[in-house]
């Protein structure tokens, strides 16, 4: 139990670090550094907690991304920042890099290297499983983070009209 918790905290810490690294690449304002780190870390925490309870990676990514979308927008208004600053960097650590890698690797093996029909059939399975998981995780991330922003955006437009 304890090592699971420690692993979870370690992974969330590095999710936060990855979010912050991308934040710095995108030149986020200095006063939002801590918030981006915390949002990235909590998104990673939620994602890996759900995965630990055997929830599919697509659904857990979606939940974590909507968490970022739901928390990020009010937070942004509170510290007077536009929502993009808090919505994009924390989501990037959840990008399905390993699925993408497996897909590319198996496509390359399928096309250039493997000749035996059984292995080729296995590779087709690997390509489709990983490829579609990658596409669905990407969709879950973009929809998950953008939908709360669009739903809550009515408020800012109203403020402008007044």
């Amino acid at each position: 139990m304890l090592d699971v918790v420690i692993k979870l905290i370690e992974v969330s810490f590095w999710s936060g670090a990855a979010a912050l690294g991308f934040g710095i690449l995108f030149n986020i304002p200095k006063n939002s550094i801590l918030t981006v780190f915390l949002l990235g870390a909590s998104a990673g925490f939620i994602k890996f907690l759900l995965i630990h309870f055997n929830i599919h990676v697509v659904l857990s990514s979606f939940t974590a991304a909507s968490f970022v979308g739901i928390i990020g927008v009010p937070l942004a208004h509170k510290i007077h920042q536009p929502p993009v600053v808090f919505s994009i960097p924390p989501v990037i650590p959840m990008i399905p890099g390993y699925f993408a890698y497996e897909t590319v690797l198996s496509i390359m093996n399928f096309t250039f290297m493997v000749d035996s029909p059984e292995k080729r059939l296995q590779l087709v399975d690997v390509i489709f499983t990983n490829g579609f998981t990658m596409v669905f995780v990407l969709l879950a991330l973009t929809v998950g983070v953008a939908l709360p922003m669009l739903l809550m955006k009515k408020n800012t437009v109203k403020k402008l009209d007044n």
């Binding site: 370690e10 992974v11 590095w14 999710s15 936060g16 670090a17 990855a18 979010a19 912050l20 690294g21 991308f22 934040g23 710095i24 690449l25 995108f26 030149n27 986020i28 304002p29 939002s32 990673g44 007077h80 920042q81 536009p82 993009v84 600053v85 919505s87 994009i88 960097p89 989501v91 990037i92 650590p93 990008i95 890099g97 390993y98 993408a100 890698y101 497996e102 590319v104 690797l105 198996s106 390359m108 093996n109 250039f112 290297m113 590779l123 690997v126 990407l138 991330l141 973009t142 929809v143 983070v145 953008a146 939908l147 922003m149 669009l150 955006k153 800012t156 437009v157 402008l160």
Partner: protein, 257 residues
């Protein structure tokens, strides 16, 4: 200054603001909202056509019954959230304090030269992000070191080629090829527990997160054209990354475990 040249000056300022926002990675509806805010302060009506490379804007001064149209080409894209944040703040203060044209111009010129993070900090932070990615995908600390080093070298090449004004997709291909080659060497000597994770994460610093997420928000806001353009940009970047990774894996003959 007569009304006409004042209107032209205003149009140029608003175009400057929108191209600054576009280049820094704001989505289309945010640009429209910001332009409307500044226009309401200056008591004019602005309508604009925003595309990836050009912005066309018509300003209408209802009192003088005068309208002027100006066009601006958009410079190369460099994502910069500090600028988006500063312009957003300026637009709110401008409404509260009813800024004049000169005051807005002054503020925009100040925002343009806002400091960026130093290059060494960007290099280290992004490489740490690469190492973090590696940890997320079950890499141990030796794998993370490999991911750190290969991200560092790849990003360095990516930044250096910027000076030669190479095509963006060629630069991305080069960055991806170099960093995955470095990580491939570690795979061949099988360093650490999961050497392949380092290879998978070494190119993630190029991931087009901003174009893809903005593409979706634009599509949802019915800015279909801009949404498709951003999606295509993101797709081209992913393609360039994949070809770099592909080539490195082919040269180093990486197989499935």
């Amino acid at each position: 200054m007569d009304e006409s040249s004042k209107l032209i000056k205003t149009a140029d300022l608003l175009l400057d603001i929108s191209s600054l926002l576009m280049v820094s990675g704001a989505n289309t509806s945010r640009i429209n909202v910001t332009i409307d805010r500044f226009a309401s302060v200056l008591n004019i009506k602005a309508s604009s056509f925003i595309s990836h490379k050009t912005i066309v804007m018509t300003l209408l001064d209802e009192k003088a019954n005068l309208s002027r149209t100006r066009v601006k080409n958009i410079p190369p894209y460099t994502i910069n959230f500090t600028i988006i944040s500063a312009i957003s703040k300026a637009s709110w203060t401008a409404i509260d304090e009813q800024w004049s044209l000169e005051k807005i111009n002054e503020e925009i010129n100040r925002i343009k030269i806002l400091e960026k993070y130093p290059r060494w900090l960007i290099l280290i932070a992004v490489s740490l992000a690469g190492a973090g990615f590696c940890n997320i995908f079950n890499g141990d600390y030796l794998n993370m070191l490999v991911a750190f080093v290969s991200t560092f070298i790849g990003l360095y090449i990516f930044q250096e080629t910027h000076k030669f004004k190479y095509n963006l997709y060629i630069r991305i291909f080069l960055g991806s090829f170099v960093s995955s080659s470095v990580a491939s060497i570690a795979v061949i000597y099988s360093l650490g527990a999961n050497p392949q994770t380092a290879l998978a994460t070494s190119i993630l610093f190029l991931v087009p997160g901003v174009p893809l997420i903005n593409s979706f928000t634009d599509l949802m806001d019915s800015n279909i054209l801009n949404g498709l353009v951003r999606f295509t940009t993101g797709f081209m970047i992913v393609l360039a990354m994949t070809i770099g990774l592909f080539l490195a894996m082919y040269l180093f003959q990486i197989n499935l475990r």
